[in-house]
Symmetry: C2
Subunit: 289 residues, 2 copies
């Protein structure tokens, strides 16, 4: 299947990096963008992210062979509604949202069923920075992109989306959308919420005053993800709430056990816990520091 | 007060970096080291960290004008006991331990009282790496060193220790030892324990399998401190247990509120929390990324 025009709806860091990679690789004739902020779209053209743009959704998706949704999870439904009347019947729809069940639900609701040409996806790439200025064509190189096809998904559409991500250097895997949401709740959503919570707890705490002045590199690294976009994270928390709440509760249970060890000065259990964690991290994240 | 000989007891990253800085600055005639592992001490001499060393504590602290304790918190008491008979009466004692009340208690127990020439201290410098191989003379440049003098501490001894740290480029502040332990429990011990706990929770969790393969930069940064030395952290958890348990409970309370927000899909409260945290981090840690 030869694509002529791709439209990226929501041209931020992820959508913009996808667009820029496709454009630089010369994979299609036209990479178009849609958004509400015209100056952002103009900048995207200047930065080599887009060929064309429109703030009119009908114009932006017109004759498009593939529409990639890069909008926040909270905007998925309304964006889908607005583009629906203007899509080619053969269009392939995909997205980069951080939770997949909620996007699949939104698509099902808007279209009345899951269109076979809809392929839900999620690139696992750093997102502390945001905005099209931070977009780079190599953002996905050697990064995982998770696709979550359902029983309804056409093999051909899945292949097209997979090949695009592979062309950008990504390491593509497919998994069940529910499993995706659990895995991401545990490995991404949970740590982000933990980091936000720690910074908020310590921020001008009445007992301590400004303690940030006494922090060093460890705190800086631990809390880096607390500089992420609060709108995006609000949307993730709301759209993957069940899995996130579950993993927050699992984590609270771990902390309950930890508090007991600390209060009882249980050296052996503390050493065991810290050593197991260090071994696991050194083993699995070894080449990533 | 002119110092001729300084002895560093426990020549790892912190003790070694202190020794190397003192030696490179030519502040004393002899920088000596003590430890149990002779090959480590030999390496320290080769790396320009020490002038001399001994595995005999009597020899190592003999004629020393200042002894800097760089051993794990769990070894403080026994090391103090073993060196006590061999110390010059005028010796200045200091340390780099991560909790201060427990070190002060140990000194009081071993000496029967707090010697006026004892100055408890704690450099706030990154400690994921360990070992003398990682020691650098500039480790403390622009880093905080917290000294925690008590009513018994001699002004002169305090001044000497402060001047040494300043000579290494550190930004020295004094505070109450109890306040130090609270601040460090909140800003350092808490995040370290949170990171260890998260990695341990996710390590081969029966519901998810190996999820580390789906993590990216955010997880890597968040868990970097979980690669820290488990012995050191066991000792910190045991030696500052009261303050750490207290802050773990504060944090659990924050998580309880967060879980409610997530379960209720309370967008406004979630946005408020994430935004406040982001603002605080961007404000206070702004120049540290």
């Amino acid at each position: 299947m030869k694509l002529k025009k791709i439209t990226v709806v929501g041209v931020g860091l992820i959508g913009g990096s996808f667009a820029k990679g496709i454009k630089e690789a010369g994979l299609v004739e036209e990479v178009s963008g849609f958004g509400h902020n015209e100056s952002n779209l103009k900048k995207a053209v200047e930065l080599g992210v887009l060929d064309t743009y429109s703030t009119d959704i009908a114009e932006a998706v017109k004759e498009s062979d593939l529409v990639m949704l890069g909008v926040p999870l909270g905007a998925m439904s309304s964006v889908l509604e607005s583009m629906k009347p203007h899509l080619k019947s053969s269009v392939i729809l995909s997205d980069v949202g951080s939770s997949k069940m909620s996007v699949i639900e939104a698509v099902k609701e808007v279209f009345g069923e899951l269109p076979p040409n809809f392929v839900a996806g999620h690139p696992i790439a750093g997102k502390e920075k945001s905005g099209v200025e931070a977009a780079t064509s190599d953002l996905f190189v050697d990064h995982r992109v998770i696709l979550t096809p359902t029983a309804e998904t056409s093999i051909e559409a899945l292949q097209v989306v997979e090949n695009l991500w592979k062309a950008l250097g990504a390491n593509v895997v497919s998994m069940d959308p529910g499993y995706h949401d659990e895995v991401l709740a545990a490995t991404s959503h949970l740590p982000h919420l933990l980091a936000f919570s720690l910074v908020e707890l310590l921020n001008e705490h009445p007992e301590l005053g400004n303690v940030f002045q006494y922090t060093a590199g460890g705190f800086r690294d631990f809390t880096r993800i607390a500089s992420s976009d609060p709108v995006m994270w609000r949307d993730i928390a709301v759209n993957n709430s069940e899995a996130i709440a579950k993993w927050l509760r699992h984590y609270q249970q771990s902390l309950t056990e930890l508090i007991t060890m600390v209060e009882q000065k249980d050296s052996d259990s503390l050493y065991h816990l810290f050593n197991e964690a260090k071994q696991a991290r050194d083993l699995h994240i070894v080449n990533k520091d």
